[in-house]
Symmetry: C2
Subunit: 524 residues, 2 copies
Amino acid sequence: MSNEINSDEMNGAESLVRTLIDGGVTVCFTNPGTSEMHFVAALDKVPGMRCVLGLFEGVVTGAADGYYRMLGKPASTLLHLAPGLANGLANLHNAKKADSAVVNIVGEHATYHIKYDAPLTADIEGTAASMSHWVKTSPTSKTIAGDGALAIEAATQTPGQIATLILPADTAWGPADEVAVTTAPSAPPKVSDDAVKAAADLLRTSDNATLLMGGAALRERSLNLAGRIAAKTGCGILTEGANTRLERGAGRVQVNRVPYVVELALEVMKKAGDLVMVGAREPVAFFAYPDKPSLLVDPDAKSTLLAGTDEDMEAALEALAIELDCLDMEPAGVAAPHRPALPTGEITPAAIAAVLGAMVPEGAIVVDESVTTGREFFPTTAGAPPHDWINNRGGSIGYGLPVAVGAAIACPDRKVIALEGDGSCMYTVQSLWTMARENLDVTVLLFANGTYNILRGELTNVGVLNPGPRAVDMLSIDRPNLDWVQMAKGMGVEASRVTTAEELATAFDSGLHSEGPYLIEVAI
Amino acid sequence: MSNEINSDEMNGAESLVRTLIDGGVTVCFTNPGTSEMHFVAALDKVPGMRCVLGLFEGVVTGAADGYYRMLGKPASTLLHLAPGLANGLANLHNAKKADSAVVNIVGEHATYHIKYDAPLTADIEGTAASMSHWVKTSPTSKTIAGDGALAIEAATQTPGQIATLILPADTAWGPADEVAVTTAPSAPPKVSDDAVKAAADLLRTSDNATLLMGGAALRERSLNLAGRIAAKTGCGILTEGANTRLERGAGRVQVNRVPYVVELALEVMKKAGDLVMVGAREPVAFFAYPDKPSLLVDPDAKSTLLAGTDEDMEAALEALAIELDCLDMEPAGVAAPHRPALPTGEITPAAIAAVLGAMVPEGAIVVDESVTTGREFFPTTAGAPPHDWINNRGGSIGYGLPVAVGAAIACPDRKVIALEGDGSCMYTVQSLWTMARENLDVTVLLFANGTYNILRGELTNVGVLNPGPRAVDMLSIDRPNLDWVQMAKGMGVEASRVTTAEELATAFDSGLHSEGPYLIEVAI
């Protein structure tokens, strides 16, 4: 289709939509209002933008995060003034911590209308600031195309960034001049020879060293290089506690994560010894606790940064492998194909882990927000066919289903498996409707333990040893019970409830063979 | 129960809880996380704080808004770090625009932990700023009680304010000295004699004048004074487009609102003529539209402010009535008792309006988020027994059910009727669960038109005359249909669906005779 236009007729909104599409932003996750109506109208006039509606803004921003994680290119969002943006902030926080690129378009009152302090008037730039790397209000319909290109350029840095472009209504409806051209991002810089030599020296001289990997270094090729370095030097390989996207499974180099629980993390980091970091930082505790350390690294360990997330990490690993003369070695730690036996009887975290290990299909995208239930899932799935595993990098719960929506839009030929806690799921439960509307190939395992279970442990961790009934009540979500089958069906998603491991396997098989969304309430 | 304490054992969290209770803040709407666990534990140790759990922060902040609107005293909220606060911002925006007092307690990492940039670390003060009047991070466990008192004092100004107190984890768990004493707010100042004389002069000399009322001037006594002034001077009485809480019904002075639609509002304001404003501002358009004015007042009209929302508005009206020598007159415009006949047949907005008029019980609190469906509800309910009518002052949808939760907690002996659009309801649908958990006496009329209907009109209003299929699709929420009965039951709320006016009346009667929550999906 042609993008030829008669500039006499083009308004600001249309010039922005055309700029976005020309700049490679071809999906828009939307929850629009009045101030965005010209943008919505432009989406009709201009072909090339897939629009996906969410009924809550946290769905929209989380979906953009999931889309970027899978495709490495940004989606846009369409949000309604400061409160609409505010509803999307928590998942923008998660996206920001995951180094995901997102281009937010936030509607604003017409510039001349702001001074009247109408009901929805609020400080959009201030609201955006804490969860954005780049914020700009475009002043006129002649500038909006250029500012749209700047937003894409800001987002598509290495690593990705959150760019928030504010679109006043008169900027949208006024006349535009032309579509703007977006400058493609430059390739990330190579690391210095010194960084490579320092890493090689540490690995050569240390008795006990570990490659600590993160960010985009968790793809197959980089992990394979890490496996060769491990084969040569005997070092370990570890990832941060939560990963943006980890390529794993049979035939890939297997890595473990730093555990969430401080005591376990300290043990793991003690064993890890000296650290060569690639796209990762020295691990810190998720929360502070009385009399426990914030920094988890062994105080006696040395560490060196081979490559940051803003550098070419794969090239750095290759340079290190060359320096260590192991580029052609067989990588260590490659996972052998292995499927555990299907479990029977009671549904326990271990039984769920076995079902996953036995059934996760090749190419699956696992979006993991299983919180306490999921701590045993990694070992049993290590030998499953190659798949991706996605974690929450920002820690704000309610990220799972929205990210699954975005991953499914990004990769329509792959099965998405969302592992969700019941408490977490409620924050962005509206995601189910978007899954139904777009017939997204997502199977949701909903772990219904009727509690903010992680907080039970956290009460103890912060030193509250005998919580009283009112404290426990604030962590319990089983009065009344949430009926997930009814809620899912109410939003158009097929669903069933399982109470034994056998039923779980049967229902999971149904989900995997469905081509649309399917939710399984797993009673535990 | 005694508040006597052994200060040797009291930590910061407990000193804050005790300060809140002593300062009159005796309800806490909560959605806590790890950083708030000491506050949660203190809630057990200290009697006197009612805790109400929400499964999403927008429920929590909206409930605090509704609570204040009914009782005129603040509730507290308990929120988890910047993303938890972010999820509550939209309803804090609405509360701020409604001049509601709210005391937010936002947990933060321990002060020494912030520098490690753990996953949930973000700028809480910056996130709070745009939706708060007062923001402070309390630095130590010795200061938190005093800062809690400052937060209450900031919130309980006239009019109410949003106060956000940030509680680092070590501030919560460290040792405290003592409970702080909150200074009671001073009474709002009386208006000047000049303001009264200017209003009297305008009303005496104008051919056509109107009292434009807002804020806390919409209570029975102030409206009654306005009715006497109208009887004496022949002036009209009007309210702003959306009211924080309007006391209305049979025996009370009846007032109309400035309409939402610009053309209708311009007509009404033209007829209104010169304005004497009491707790109201000159009306402005909700949104700007091409070639329509932002300011809705007649450009030829004179206006004067009798009293602002920060002044004693009732005393000002009384002074004006004395100045006009009408304090003992019978008020004009008192609504006569009237119940329309119950309708039959198809469910239309007019039929719903008739059902409401026929059945709204005495003392009901109507929380109105009916958007397009509800534009005809006011006239038919004017003669119903005395009741309160609550509107959204901030315009961010998803305010209705949370405000209904807070109103029901505030007034357990009154029936709450929530009028909800389907699109609006989805933003904070988790409210239904809190209604079930607390067995709140709320009847929800859920108007299921399967569309963001208001945006259909807005497309036209902004000049998009022939929206294409993709634009219309972005405003349609009927693919798939939302099954509200299943969703409500899934969260523990009794529900039914009605398709005729007769069924609506029968189901509404069931809801009104229920003592817990009841949702009616009204197919329109």
